[in-house]
């Protein structure tokens, strides 16, 4: 049985470990923290599986490979909500919706009645909306914990210290791998979690705004995740400015958010390469899986599949970089 080591227990590492186990490998995952939690930037993710919406600014591979994600997560037993995404713009920004519609595929324009049928709590607040079908969302924290538990049940060992490098290794440390991948940079994202019993949403909402774009992802128990700022910085402080922007935009989306409980504010820096696309970098027996940027849950399944296929089948996949020392 092939032995493989995975360094890093975030979304990239856990997806790679899952793919390795599926291939019958004997896997050890190394991470200083024993459980998924606030130390890793996957913890702060929105959990939107929205390849088409991301295509507004992201390159083509994100749209194509991201379409694998919802099925992959569902196959692992994670609850995936397939309700699509609703894209909205406030009155004076309504032309933003036209621009978005031009640049994104797989959508239908809704009139107020269709919007009200889809999300009754938004009735009367918007004169039109874009429904991007074929998109989904999940609870990222539940998904991480689920993958971790399944791997443990499958006999995967979790250890804190990687020790000396030996054998086939998948390096999935995210921004912490900057010592080995100097092109990596941090892109800060800030989020908030609110709880409200006054509003119900069944699908992620994207509110287009020239200054303060917002997305709201509904989670169980009346929780709503608000995200996410995108700032060129590896700083992890939670700033008042970003909190103000997120909360103001949420309030503009629906005044009920003004009465919501502020459960959590979080921030982390996401690992990105200059083109904001991921990379698989092979060095000796190590394959780096990194640079997932704001597309961790969206792209990690495809990257994991490609990285493991490269190691096991000798295929050189997309995003493949081979370093010769």
């Amino acid at each position: 049985m092939t032995q493989a080591r995975v360094i890093g227990g975030g979304v990239a590492g856990l997806c790679v470990a899952t793919e390795l186990v599926a291939r019958g490998c004997e896997v050890t995952v190394f991470d200083p923290s024993p459980r998924p939690g606030p130390h890793g930037c996957s913890w702060w993710a929105g959990g939107m599986l929205a390849p088409f919406c991301e295509g507004e600014t992201a390159e083509e591979p994100v749209v194509r490979l991201g379409q694998e994600a919802a099925d992959w997560w569902e196959r692992q037993g994670v609850t995936v909500h397939r309700q699509g995404t609703l894209v909205l713009a406030l009155g004076r920004d309504r032309r933003e919706l036209d621009r978005f519609a031009r640049r994104v595929t797989g959508h239908e324009m809704l009139d107020p009645a269709a919007l009200a049928a889809m999300e009754p709590d938004l009735e009367g607040r918007f004169d039109r909306a874009l429904h991007v079908t074929g998109e989904a969302h999940l609870d990222p924290r539940a998904a991480l914990i689920h993958l971790r538990d399944r791997l443990e049940q499958a006999g995967v060992r979790f250890m804190a210290e990687p020790g000396r490098p030996a054998g086939l290794t998948f390096e999935c440390r995210g921004l912490a791998a900057r010592d080995a991948l100097p092109d990596l940079r941090g892109v800060k994202g800030e989020m908030a979690v609110l709880r409200s019993a006054d509003i119900r949403l069944t699908r992620p909402i994207r509110l287009l705004h020239p200054r303060y774009p917002l997305y709201v992802v509904p989670r169980a128990d009346g929780l709503f995740m608000l995200g996410a700022t995108q700032i060129e910085s590896d700083d992890r402080r939670r700033s008042v400015r970003s909190a103000l922007e997120l909360l103001s935009a949420a309030y503009a989306l629906h005044p009920a958010f003004g009465e919501a409980e502020l459960v959590e504010i979080g921030a982390d820096a996401r690992p990105a390469f200059p083109d904001n696309l991921p990379r698989l970098v092979k060095r000796g027996e190590t394959i780096h899986v990194n640079g997932l940027f704001r597309h961790g849950f969206l792209l990690a399944p495809a990257l994991a599949r490609m990285a493991v296929a490269a190691a096991c089948d000798g295929i050189k996949p997309e995003f493949w970089h081979e370093d010769h020392d």
């Binding site: 600014t57 992201a58 390159e59 031009r102 640049r103 990596l184 940079r185 941090g186 800060k188 020239p210 200054r211 700032i231 060129e232 910085s233 590896d234 700083d235 402080r237 990105a272 200059p274 083109d275 904001n276 696309l277």
Partner: protein, 256 residues
């Protein structure tokens, strides 16, 4: 074109914010041939120079860097940001923004003059983001500014030159002062118009960064800026009401 004694080859300046990725930003600069990049220090400034990775990418563009005080709403904030920018980018140049109105991002004329004076006294070369107001322009020059950056329209609106009369007046009042139309441009034709009016350069960001193909739009703007400048230097004809045939009519039959 001389700005504070430095020769700048291109009359197009680009901002560095809001691009889909640093790679797209780099490609946009390459195709635009822009000579100056503005860079915002305020938003990224955290502990331990947290935005360093992005700034390194901007430095690699190999163009002159003009740090700005974007998003500053007070004199004190703008002065502190300018001092930080000088440390970070090792340049006395500063594009001074003091915002007076949150919704329109209109400059605060009073704060702008005060901040310009403070910074000039500290040895900065100040590029003030201003309106087309000639009185304000005079005060800024009096405060030591040697370049002016009047707006075309509010930042990020893409409305073009909303007060052509005001901009013409400003240009005519201070013919020797280098002026850069900054903000509000959405299309290359608007940039060409500013250049035809005799402005020395244009600065834009959103129009390129938020285009579907930023690099193509950057090249489009570069062509427009060059066209507009050539037209200005070529002394364009005056419009007239009477049609004047460009080939003589003599010798041609009246009825064909």
């Amino acid at each position: 074109m001389q700005l504070y004694g430095s020769e700048i080859a291109s009359r197009l300046m680009l901002g560095t914010a809001q691009y889909p990725s640093p790679s797209v930003l780099t490609e946009a600069f390459r195709r635009s041939g822009a000579g100056i990049a503005t860079v915002s220090v305020r938003r990224e400034a955290g502990n331990e120079r947290a935005g360093a990775a992005f700034w390194d990418l901007v430095r690699d563009l190999d163009v002159a860097l003009l740090p700005n005080t974007a998003g500053c709403h007070s004199v004190r904030e703008a002065v502190t940001t300018a001092q930080m920018a000088r440390e970070l980018f090792d340049t006395p140049w500063i594009k001074l923004e003091v915002i007076g109105h949150a919704d329109t991002l209109q400059p605060d004329p009073f704060g702008l003059v005060e901040a310009a004076r403070i910074l000039t006294d500290e040895g900065f070369k100040v590029f003030p983001y201003t309106t087309e107001d000639v009185v304000l322009a005079g005060r800024l020059l009096g405060a030591g500014c040697e370049v002016l950056m009047p707006w075309g329209a509010p930042i990020g609106t893409g409305l073009g030159l909303t007060n052509i009369y005001g901009l013409r007046t400003l240009r005519a009042q201070f013919p020797e002062v280098p002026m850069v139309v900054d903000a509000g441009l959405g299309l290359p034709s608007q940039a060409a118009m500013a250049m035809e009016m005799g402005f020395d350069a244009v600065l834009l960001n959103t129009a390129v960064a938020k285009a579907g193909d930023p690099a193509a739009m950057a090249e489009g703007f570069a062509g427009a800026v060059e066209a507009g400048r050539l037209a200005f230097e070529a002394d364009p004809m005056e419009p007239r009401d009477m049609a004047a045939p460009s080939t003589p009519l003599i010798g041609k039959a009246f009825l064909e």
